[in-house]
């Protein structure tokens, strides 16, 4: 019974607010008519867009009320009123949403009031009938639920009138997606820039410097050799050991430059990805991880390959996850799963270790998350104390 009253209560609130809006819309129609009349003598033209904005606000209130009552949002899609006055007027007049709102306004004026008029006496009747019915005869309430029906009717009609036309709705969805993409793209561009700067610094400070130093030593050795050849018999020739040392140093520098280059190359795009593809590269990772790793592939190998950036990100994430598992989890076994989904590449790394992986602890998880986010991907880490640890990543891509 308490429930029934509660529900009837909430339904009545919606109806009450609906009637309130009806009265407001009555006033609003007056404003609208005035604005239209004023527009005829040009001076009032400025009022028109403002009036349309007001209309949108009213419709917005109703959308929110119905959305809250029914738990289902009514989408909103309008042409933004921007630009010069003339443009704003043109957009206000051309937006189909304006006419849909007007239609709702007029109809709602009637049904908003009507539904309340019906609901009010129902409360009186309900109090009597349901009071006797439920209180004395222990039957189900019959009248009060009718009020809920009325509210549902209001919600249904309002939804039908207020939801944007399919075209407008699609446009709104696209606009939302564009906004989302703009943000992630900016992130990706920034991440890419940071990556380029890192590579530039590695090459500049490391490899280039080493090659300069190497060239210098070769130059010095050559000079020493020339001197030795040119030295007159009996004159003091340079010590051959010095030349030998210079050449030794030069070779050391060349080898170090090569080692550094290899690291830089691995950081940009691991060569084994080129050689063996993602699954082959991951199998190699698994073999050298020090863990017993089961690699499962669901349609990634053999088919068209994911873009290089996606493969590289997936590879680094899995390499990092397996390194973490081998270093910190205490697990002896792990599982890696790669799956081709319609929207992108899904990877999963699971170990049977002690769990409790902490994102604030090291830079590993954070770095992984950044790499994934740069490609518009998502990453999920589940690692309760006591394990197991599960890292799931989805990288969107077109196959």
């Amino acid at each position: 019974m308490r429930d029934t009253i509660d529900r009837a209560d909430r339904a009545s609130m919606l109806l009450l607010m609906a009637s309130g809006l009806s009265i407001v819309s009555y006033v609003f129609v007056g404003i609208l008519l005035f604005a239209l009349a004023a527009s005829l003598i040009v001076v009032g033209l400025g009022m028109l867009p403002e009036t349309v904005l007001l209309l949108r606000k009213l419709a917005g209130i109703k959308r929110r009320q119905v959305g809250e009552w029914s738990g289902r949002r009514i989408p909103e899609a309008y042409t933004p009123l921007t630009g010069t006055l003339v443009e704003r007027v043109r957009k206000a007049v051309k937006d189909p949403g304006t006419y849909r709102d007007l239609r709702w306004l007029v109809l709602h004026f009637f049904y908003g009031l009507l539904l309340l008029y019906v609901a009010l006496p129902l409360w009186v009747i309900g109090a009597l009938v349901d009071g006797v019915w439920c209180g004395l005869l222990r039957r189900r309430a019959v009248v009060l639920p009718l009020i809920v029906r009325l509210a549902a009717l209001d919600a249904r009609w309002s939804r039908a009138l207020l939801k944007p036309s399919p075209d407008a709705e699609r446009n709104a969805e696209l606009a939302e997606r564009v906004e989302e993409l703009t943000v992630t793209r900016a992130g990706a561009v920034a991440a890419h820039g940071a990556e380029l700067r890192r590579i530039e610094r590695d090459l500049h400070d490391g490899t280039q410097a080493r090659l300069v130093s190497l060239s210098m030593r070769v130059g010095l050795a050559r000079r020493a050799y020339d001197k030795q050849v040119a030295a007159a018999p009996g004159a003091e020739a340079p010590d051959p050991d010095v030349v030998r040392r210079l050449l030794d140093d030069a070779q050391d520098q060349a080898e170090e430059a090569l080692t550094e280059l290899r690291h830089v190359v691995r950081g940009i795009h691991p060569p084994i990805l080129t050689d063996r593809g993602l699954v082959g590269a991951v199998r190699a990772l698994a073999a050298s991880s020090g863990l017993e790793v089961a690699v499962r592939d669901d349609g990634v190998e053999g088919g068209p390959r994911a873009p290089a950036a996606v493969e590289a990100a997936a590879y680094f994430v899995m390499a990092e996850a397996l390194t973490n598992a081998a270093k910190h989890s205490g697990a002896r076994r792990a599982e890696v799963e790669l799956a081709r989904a319609a929207t992108g590449l899904r990877i999963l790394v699971r170990d049977e270790g002690r769990g409790g992986a902490d994102e604030s602890g090291g830079t590993g998880l954070l770095g992984m998350r950044r790499r994934v986010a740069a490609l518009d991907g998502t990453m999920e880490v589940v690692s309760p104390a006591g394990g197991p640890t599960l890292i799931g990543v989805e990288l969107p891509c077109v196959w």
């Binding site: 060349a254 090569l258 190359v265 084994i272 080129t274 063996r276 190699a284 050298s288 017993e292 081998a326």
Partner: protein
């Protein structure tokens, strides 16, 4: 020795030919693309083949595949595989059909001419030459591993052994006597639970099998 070289980069190819001929080896043939490799090996039957991993047309691991195919058709053919980078997995694949007459080195090592020639001759003679970087990767293991019970010196001896060095070289590198080398190696085999082996390929094989097992 008669050598067949497979290398697509003209600069490196010429460098290699120069290096080998200058020390008296004969270059029987050079292959510049993956598909040329196997026919050249079958035709010339060299004493040793020096192969680059990444070659045209795919620029993936054509050289490595050619080496594996060659080992299948000519099990006795020694191959030395060179690469800009080393992968434990590739080493495992190369050693899969036996460690005898197999080499896998970073291209950088060619610069140390004497060591490179030594490795080449070792491989040609049926020995093994594994890049120190691969061995380091193989030796990097999780905790709770018998490898952890090795002393630093024993570990160093194991490292050199896995590279395919003989006792004399190990002794010279570590500046210790032959007797001390034998002692270290005996300890390594004992601690890893491997049956004692005489020197030579069987020893390398046992060590690599152990390390590969993970």
């Amino acid at each position: 020795m008669r050598v067949v070289i497979a290398e697509d980069n003209a600069l490196l190819r010429e460098g290699m030919v120069l290096l080998l001929t200058s020390v008296g080896h004969e270059v029987a043939a050079v292959a510049a693309t993956g598909p040329e490799v196997l026919p050249a090996l079958l035709e010339h039957r060299p004493d040793v083949a020096v192969l680059d991993v990444r070659m045209p047309p795919g620029f993936r691991d054509e050289g490595l595949r050619a080496a594996l195919a060659a080992r299948k058709q000519l099990p006795e053919l020694p191959v030395l595989v060179l690469s800009q980078y080393v992968e434990e997995t590739y080493a495992a694949e190369l050693l899969g059909a036996g460690a005898s007459g197999v080499g896998y080195l970073l291209k950088d090592r060619v610069g140390r001419v004497d060591e490179f020639l030594d490795a080449l001759e070792r491989v040609a003679a049926g020995g093994t030459a594994l890049d120190p970087e691969v061995v380091t990767e193989l030796l990097t293991r999780r905790g709770n591993d018998p490898l952890d019970s090795l002393t630093p010196r024993e570990r160093e001896a194991l490292h050199l052994m896995a590279e395919g060095r003989d006792n004399a070289t190990i002794g010279a590198t570590m500046s210790i006597s032959d007797r001390a080398v034998s002692k270290h190696i005996g300890n390594v085999f004992l601690k890893l639970g491997l049956p004692p082996s005489d020197s030579g390929h069987r020893r390398v094989l046992a060590v690599l099998a152990y390390l590969n097992k993970g």
